[in-house]
Structures are given as structure tokens and as C-alpha cells.
Amino acid sequence: MDTIFALASARGKAGVAVIRVSGNLAIAAGQALCGDLPLPRRAALREVRLEGRLVDQALVLVFEPGASFTGEATVELQVHGGTASVRAVLQALAAQPGLRLAEPGEFSRRALENGRMDLTQIEGLADLIDAETEAQRRQAVAVMSGHLGQRAERWRADLVRASALLAAVIDFSDEDVPEEVSEEVVALLDLIEGGISRELEGAGAAERIREGFEVAIVGAPNVGKSTLLNALAGREAAITSDVAGTTRDVIEVRMEIDGLAVTLLDTAGLRDADDRVERIGIERGIDRARLADLRIFLKDGAEVLPLDPALEDIVVQAKADLHPEREGSVSGKTGAGLDGLLLRIGAVLAGRVSGSSLVIRERHRQALSEAAGSVGSARAVIVGGGPVELAAAELQASARALEIMIGKVGVEDLLDEVFSRFCIGK
């Protein structure tokens, strides 16, 4: 087995970059570059030298086999994060005999091969690495610790019970053991279908946690939508002016509200525009606003807009600076009412998230839809008095879909899919 190395932290300029070396020759390579190494799991500063020439200074960590991420002997070098210095250290490592650059996902693969992590945990790890917000992190940790798998196991156990009842009807019909089981089977199937459906319903919110929510600011022209966006984002993302219709395209700003990833959308002011380009902008804005997860209606008085607020949408009065008498009004200019508005947005989104499930991947969603679909077909066969072996076949298919989700079958394909998602070093 080769000894591999790669940059384990993100590419680009940074204060510190972590370079990981894993494999039988890791210690030898570390010694060749840094001289004597610190004791395992102790940090020490060393000079990295290639053929006597100083390459960089590094904080060096040594992990023993069985006590590292990959399970192999590992040396980690925390070097200065400049692009050139990282390249120089990597080149120095490449010059060591028996060492090569890691392939994408290879550290994780070795962690799996050496029993340090299982498949679902690695999936969760991938999300944990990608997590930008607190909610994403919590979600990834829940998946990584196998909660979705546990639920699937429970449904599977119920499927097995239902299948067993059908099996009794099929295989013991010549003995006097079986009696009418349809009722019990249907009750079990309803239970499973209900559970999976709930999980699927929460899939939307779960996906939002991963992908982020879209929140659109809508209102008449010149009520201060762009100013509000800029104030919320804390930077000049949108051009503002007192000319009505300044914003024509949809402007997006990514931010975090209460630990949730949110994309704030600024849309063109809603009015009957004569300008063809502005009209297109308004239509586009309305479309995007409709599709968004939440809309903030910014109003300057009691004007009527061509878009109605949906349930939970937030309606606030604008220009608090000019009309301090308006209750609960906000001003992008002075910042008045912004904290309150953020709290309201956070509360609405938090409500949506509370119903989220652990179905965070299309792979999971597909497997669950398939499982629920088969359970539904089985139920239809039983209720309709069809051939009971077909119902049994549907339940078998359903159990199989769940097994695929938790990695019981199709291991080969799963490994490929999982590892193809990793970029180098992670």
C-alpha cells in the first residue's frame, strides 16, 4: 500500500495549511524532512528541509496506526498557508521515495477500508465538511451518527412482520395455522407508509437546510427594498437611488440568519411599467418571489400590490426614519426595526426547519419514495383481493429500497458514488 499525501485544508491563501501524510512510510518521510519527530499526539515545531535547504517551518503531529483518521501511521504538517510555501512542501514530499499524491477521497477511503468509519458516516462527514451553518452541521452530525439508518431499520422490521404474515398465508395454507391476516397487514403497511411519508414531507425542509432558504423582498418601486437588502447584508450589494425602478434584475445575497443559510432576493419594484425592460424585470421578480420560501412585503402605506402575501409571509411598513409613527416599521437607512425583522424571519424559518427530516440527499429521497410506493402497491393488492404473492413481492422490493439506502446492498455502486463526491485531501 502506497503512502499518500495531500493538502487536507482548503486551497488558497490562509494563515495555516494542513498537509497530511498517511501510510507505512509516513514516519520515515516525516523524519527525512523534519529530522526527529515529536511523540505521537504531541505537537512540536520543526523545520522542513529538503536536501538541507529550508522549505518552511511546520507544527508537526504524529499519529500511530489505529489512532489516526485513516487508521494508518500519519504525519500532519501545519505549514504556512501561502500558495507557494504549500507547493514547496508538497514538492518536498513528492521527492520522498514511495510517496505519491493522494487521489480524490483517498484518505476517506482508507478510513473506510481500515474500519475507522462506515459508509453512512462518511456520507455525513462529506456534509459536515460542506456545512456552512449551524443547522447544516447539526443535520450532518445526525445523519453521520446513523439516525436515518435507525428509522429505516424500524420500517424494515415492520415490513418483515407484514411479510411474515403474508408468508404464513402463502406457505401454511394447507395447515390450520393461518387465519385472516389482511387487516393486520394493512395496519402495519399504513404505519410504515405514514412514517416514510412524514420523513419525505420533511425532506423539503431538510433540503432547505442543506441548500439554504430563499427570502424575497417585494414591494412597490422606491419603498427602499434595495436599501433594506444592503442593510441586512451589511454591504452595498444592490444599487440604490431615489429613481423608481432602479433595480431591474433579481439581486441575490447569501447570508446566515439564526444559523440558517438564507439567500436574500431583491426584486424589481412592482408597478405598471411602460419600459419593456423594466416590465420583464418585474415579471421575473414576481416569478422568483412566488418560488421563494418566504416573502417580505415592504409597504409604504396601504398600496395594493399585484402579489398577495402567502401564509407566514411578513408584511412591514417601510421608511421608519420618515414615519416614526408607523408601528413595527423598518428603515434600511437608519437600521431601525432591522433586528425585529431578522427575528421574525428567523422565527418563521425555524418553524419550517423543526419539521425537517434526515432525508438530505436525492439518493435517500428516491429510495424512500420507492419504498413508500411499493408499500402502497402492496396495500392496493391486498385490499383489492389480488394475488397475495404480488403483495409479498412489493414488500420485498420495499425492504430492498430501504436496504439500499442504508447501504446493505449494492455496496459497489454506493462506494463509487460516495467517493466520487470527495475532493482531494478530505
Binding site: 500500500m1 502506497d2 489505529g66 487508521g71 477511503r109 473506510l112 477500508e113 481500515n114 474500519g115 475507522r116 462506515d118 459508509l119 411479510s163 408468508a167 402463502i170 406457505d171 401454511f172 395454507s173 394447507d174 395447515e175 390450520d176 395455522v177 389480488g386 394475488p387 397475495v388 404473492e389 404480488l390 409479498a392 413481492a393 420485498q396 422490493a397 430492498r400 436496504e403 442504508i406 447501504g407 446493505k408 446492498v409 449494492g410 455496496v411 459497489e412 454506493l414 462506494l415
Partner: protein, 624 residues
């Protein structure tokens, strides 16, 4: 007397496994010896006088598809044929026959006598001859030695058999047969893993003392389904069975005397089956049921013995008499032979390979009840596999393998050698994950071509099979030839979407509720298709979409079956694998990933770990 000679295959035991093994080896052209204690005991049905049933009927059809003898013998001896699960779909229907014991035995003996390369030897095998860890022959009582390249041991319950009637114990195999203690002793010395199981039989009743006027009659099917693809209609007189029931009084008698039962009195250590429970079990475990069904099955046309199916027991004789006589119609019945339970040793089938050859002794095969199975059909199926493989092995041929995706035989072998048994193993259709594809009606299509290529299928069957394939093909062609517009279909009462395209008749068959009459109105020539052929085309159509879906599962299984695990993989060194699993993997040495997946307690994570290691080894090999 016979001349001492060398055989390719020596079969020990003349039960269902032994006779099927001997016949299969002989069909393969191997010089074969069948050794049985008594010549007239060959082909005896030691338990109930019936063949087939759910799952079991599938096995018989498969044995027949490979030109075996069980199906043909059962058809010759069948006195009542019933297709079980008639109201369910064709995949789970199982043919079953009540057979005349004597006629069955005669049929088996006759079929064996027709085999040119088979020699039947009467005698007791007292020892195996081994040569450097390989099977070399057997020694008979009286000192006669017979040498052979391979041996198939089908000793049934003869090994350390112990019969219980109440607290009375007798050592023996079946009632009245002497156990081969010396042989048992020697085999125990081979260091094979053994376990202990039990099974039971009901008392046998004198039919002349039954009040048949009070017994409900259960006739056979109007259109009997026979076992063999070569058979047409029953050849002997057909008779009904009787049905009666236990009652509260019966249960009371059993309950009151339960402490006298061998099974409940703590005399038996073996594990009995969860299905087919004894009357004691039924009363104790299903205490809320006030009545259980009993089938009164005649043992033969000119035999008054009745086999009361459903009341096996190990209670003392007097108690048996009392509870039997509490049953309607049996008030004055005379018991001809008491019910008994029998305990016996079996060998852990996980020590066998896919050919049923033992891992420890090359050339020695085990088949039948000694592998922990119950039932004639399971025994015969193993006999067939062992017979074919012993014949092939003796002459340096390839292994003959059966898989889960192609046959119930494959399911049986795979379950036995990978999962082992915890109770007497019986076939159920639920054991076959590809049940919809493995039907009794297509057993020949699945296996006869294999048999023809092996050489174990004779010309007569090959010809019948070719004709069937031809009829199927022309039937399908006819039904696929013309397609009909939705309007035409509505005219004959088939409701389809008007906006749908034209459909051919084959596709219509997969729609629920479409009748033969409707098809015939659309295509009058369809009425001329042979009824059995037509049924089969309909069966295929009924399951088509499920079969298509299963193809993916089968492909996945095949992939896992093709993923070979290097024989020297060091499980104990695998980090992340629990010690328990590593131990099991080390002991079982799975050859493929699929086999590893079937080891009890195997987890997905462990499987992924093994796969990752195989891949790692492969990558390393490529990189070198």
C-alpha cells in the same frame, strides 16, 4: 453374490436422498452402487404417505426436470392429487399427492432396476475406508470391502437415533430398524460438527375401526396436477381423504398428561420444528384455539392403515389412545402403531461445499436428513445434487452448481451450507426471494436444458421438452402477432384507455380480469393452444413486470456472486471487523461477497469493509 469391484459412486442408504442420488449418478453414466440394509426397504416412505406441497412440490418438479425419479414415482403411486393454494397465484401453487406406500416403493425400485450402471447391494455399512483424507470405499458387516471413488452418505435419522414414547426410550432409526452404531462412531471421529434435532410422527390408525359416516370427506382435484412433465393423468384409483377435528376434551386429556410427554417431560434435548407441531405443542402454544384440523390420510389402496396428519405426539401409548378416541369419528379406533418422537444427530451442513461434498474428506458427500433437513423432497433434492456431483467428481468433471436465482434446489443448498439449520429445515416458497420466477410450471424451462448439457436427461424427456418449447413459442407468436385498437378491445368487454395505443394479446394477458373467452373472441385461433401451454403463457404475463424488476436484483446478486473473496483474506487482521464476525468468516471461508452477505449476523458495514479490502488488494495488484 457380487464381484468385488470398484465403483465411481457408492451411495449409502436407500431412502429418498439415497435413491435419487443413485439414480442421478447412474443417469450420468457413473458406475454406481446403492447399499441398503434391506433391498425391500428401498424407497420406503417412513413418515406420512404424501409427496409435494408448498415449496416441496416445486422441488419435486425441479428434480423431475433433471429426469429424477421422485415425481414419476409419486405420479405412479398417487391416489389423490391436490394443487395447494389454487386460489392464489401460480408462483405459490404447489402440487401435492397422497400416495400408496407400497406402490411408491415399487415404483422407485423399478426405476432403479432400469438403470444399467446401478448395482443394488444389500448390507450394512459398518465403516468408511479413507485413504490419505480421501474417500476410498466402504466396509460391510461380514468384512466385505467395496472400493469407490466417491461416497454419498444418506443415513437419515439412523445416526444415534433415539425413539421416545412417553418416558420409554429405544435407540434406533425408524421403528423396527437397527441403527448403524459402528458407522456413526467412525463418522463422529472425523471431527465434523454435529447437532441434535427431533421430529415426530402421529399414531397409525386402523381404518376399519373409524366411523367414516361422521367424517367429512376431502376429495382430490377434478383436474389433477401431476408432478412429472412426462405424466398425463393418474394411473391408479383415486380416493378421498377425511377431515376431522380435535376438541376441548382432546386438549384436556393432553393438558392433563403433558408431564408424561417425552418432549415436555424433559427427555428430549433436540430442537424440533416450529411448524408441523405435535399435539402437545398445539395445545400448549395455541392454548386459545379450541380445535385443530386432522387429515385422515389413507396409506394405500389395499391397506387400511390411516395416517392422521396433525396429531404427532410423544405421549405414552395409553394417553395417545385416550386423546385419539376423544375425536369425532375415532371413538372406537384401534391404534396400529403408536406415535413417537425421534431424536437424531445431524451434521452441520455449513461444513459442506456447494456440491454437498464434505470439506474434511474429499470424495465424501452428505445428503438428506443427516444434513438437518426434514421431508422427502428436501432429501431427494440433495440426493440429486450429491449424485450428479459425485458422478462428475469421480471422473474429474466440473462442479454442478445450483443458484438461488435458478431453482429451489439452489435455495435449499445455499441456505444449508451458508446459514446452517437451527430446526429441521423444510422448504417454503418464502425462502425463495425470486419466487415469482421459480414456478412449478416452468421448472423444466429452468433446469432441463442444464440436465441435457450434463447428460442426465434421457431422450424421451428431451423430446417432450423440445415439443413444449415449440408449443410455447408458437403460442406466444400467435398472441403477439395481431394488435388491437382500444375500440376493438372495448367491443369484447376489455376496458382500456381510448387514447392508448394498439395492444397485442400477450400484453392484454397481463391485465387483471381479462378472460380466455375475450381473447378467443379477438383471435379465434387462440382457442386451439394447448390448455397447459396457455396457462403458462398467462402465468408469465401475470408476473412479467415483477420479473423485469427482479432482473435488477438478480443482476446485483450475480455481481456479488462474481466478486470473489481471496481464500487467504486475513479477516482477523481486518480493523473494524468484530472478533465474532471475523471468527465466523474465518470458519466459513465464503468464496464470494454474496456468500459472505448470507452469514448470520453480517452487517452492511462489515460487508463494505470486506469489499473495500478486496478492491484494495485488486488496486495494489494492478499498481504493481
Amino acid at each position: 453374490m457380487f464381484h468385488v469391484k470398484h465403483f465411481d459412486v457408492i451411495v449409502i442408504g436407500g431412502g429418498h436422498a439415497g435413491t435419487e442420488a443413485a439414480a442421478a449418478a447412474a443417469r450420468m453414466g457413473a458406475s454406481t452402487a446403492l447399499i441398503s440394509l434391506r433391498r425391500d426397504g428401498i424407497g420406503v416412505m417412513s413418515c406420512n404417505p404424501a409427496i409435494g406441497g408448498l415449496g416441496k412440490g416445486h422441488l419435486v418438479r425441479e428434480i423431475d426436470a433433471l429426469d429424477g425419479i421422485m415425481g414419476r414415482a409419486a405420479d405412479r403411486a398417487g391416489i389423490q392429487f391436490r394443487l395447494l393454494n389454487r386460489r392464489k397465484g401460480p408462483a405459490v401453487q404447489g402440487p401435492r399427492a397422497q400416495t400408496d406406500r407400497k406402490l411408491y416403493r415399487q415404483a422407485i425400485q423399478e426405476f432403479l432396476a432400469q438403470e444399467q450402471s446401478l448395482t443394488v447391494i444389500e448390507g450394512e455399512v459398518v465403516g468408511l475406508k479413507l485413504d490419505a483424507g480421501r474417500f476410498a470405499g466402504v466396509e460391510l458387516a461380514g468384512g466385505i470391502a467395496i472400493s469407490g471413488a466417491t461416497g454419498i452418505l444418506t443415513a437419515g435419522t439412523f445416526l444415534n437415533g433415539l425413539i421416545h414414547i412417553g418416558n420409554e426410550k429405544t435407540s434406533g432409526g425408524r421403528m423396527g430398524d437397527a441403527p448403524s452404531i459402528r458407522l456413526a462412531h467412525q463418522i463422529s471421529g472425523l471431527g465434523l460438527n454435529t447437532g441434535r434435532l427431533k421430529t415426530g410422527t402421529p399414531p397409525r390408525l386402523d381404518g376399519k375401526t373409524i366411523d367414516w359416516s361422521r367424517i367429512e370427506e376431502q376429495p382430490g382435484d377434478d383436474e389433477p396436477s401431476l408432478f412429472s412433465f412426462l405424466s398425463g393423468t393418474p394411473v391408479v384409483r383415486q380416493v378421498p381423504c377425511g377431515v376431522t377435528h380435535t376438541n376441548e376434551k382432546t386438549h384436556e386429556i393432553v393438558r392433563k398428561n403433558i408431564h408424561l410427554s417425552a418432549m415436555y417431560g424433559g427427555h428430549i434435548e433436540g430442537v424440533g420444528p416450529r411448524y408441523c407441531p405435535s399435539i402437545e405443542d398445539k395445545v400448549v402454544r395455541f392454548a386459545d384455539k379450541s380445535s385443530h384440523q386432522i387429515f385422515l390420510e389413507p396409506e394405500g389402496l389395499d391397506d387400511d392403515t390411516i395416517y392422521p396428519n396433525g396429531i404427532s405426539s410423544s405421549l405414552p401409548f395409553e394417553v395417545q389412545e385416550a386423546y385419539v378416541r376423544s375425536i369425532v369419528g375415532l371413538e372406537d379406533v384401534r391404534i396400529l402403531q403408536p406415535a413417537y418422537a425421534i431424536e437424531y444427530d445431524f451434521f452441520d451442513p455449513r461444513d459442506l461445499t456447494q456440491t454437498l461434498m464434505t470439506r474434511g474428506v474429499e470424495g465424501l458427500f452428505f445428503a438428506g436428513q443427516i444434513n438437518g433437513t426434514t421431508g422427502y423432497e428436501e432429501a431427494a433434492a440433495q440426493g440429486l445434487v450429491a449424485g450428479l456431483n459425485a458422478a462428475s467428481h469421480a471422473r474429474g468433471g466440473d462442479k454442478i452448481l445450483f443458484g438461488r436465482a435458478d431453482s429451489y434446489i439452489g435455495v435449499l443448498i445455499d441456505d444449508l451450507i451458508h446459514r446452517g439449520v437451527t430446526e429441521p429445515y423444510r422448504m417454503f416458497t418464502s425462502r425463495a426471494e425470486f419466487r415469482l420466477a421459480l414456478r412449478a410450471d416452468n421448472a423444466d424451462q429452468r433446469l432441463t436444458p442444464l440436465g441435457m448439457s450434463l447428460g442426465c436427461v434421457r431422450a424421451e424427456r428431451a423430446q417432450v421438452f423440445a415439443q413444449k418449447l415449440e408449443a410455447l413459442e408458437s403460442g406466444r407468436d400467435l398472441l403477439a402477432a395481431k394488435s388491437f385498437a382500444p375500440r376493438e378491445l372495448r367491443d369484447v368487454g376489455i376496458n382500456v384507455n381510448v387514447d392508448g395505443g394498439r395492444r397485442n394479446l400477450l400484453r392484454l394477458l397481463s391485465m387483471p380480469g381479462v378472460t380466455r373467452e375475450q381473447i378467443d373472441r379477438l383471435e379465434p385461433a387462440a382457442a386451439a393452444i394447448d390448455s397447459a401451454i396457455r396457462t403458462q403463457i398467462e402465468n408469465d404475463a401475470l408476473y412479467q413486470q415483477y420479473l423485469d424488476r427482479q432482473e435488477n436484483d438478480i443482476a446485483a446478486l450475480r455481481r456479488e456472486e462474481e466478486t470473489l473473496i481471496p481464500p487467504d483474506l486475513e479477516y482477523r487482521g481486518l480493523p473494524g471487523l468484530s472478533g465474532e464476525l471475523a471468527g465466523k468468516l474465518f470458519a466459513r471461508r465464503p468464496e464470494t461477497l454474496a456468500q459472505a452477505g448470507r452469514i448470520e449476523g453480517m452487517t452492511p458495514a462489515a460487508l463494505a469493509l470486506i469489499l473495500a479490502h478486496i478492491r484494495k488488494a485488486k488496486r495494489a495488484a494492478v499498481g504493481r
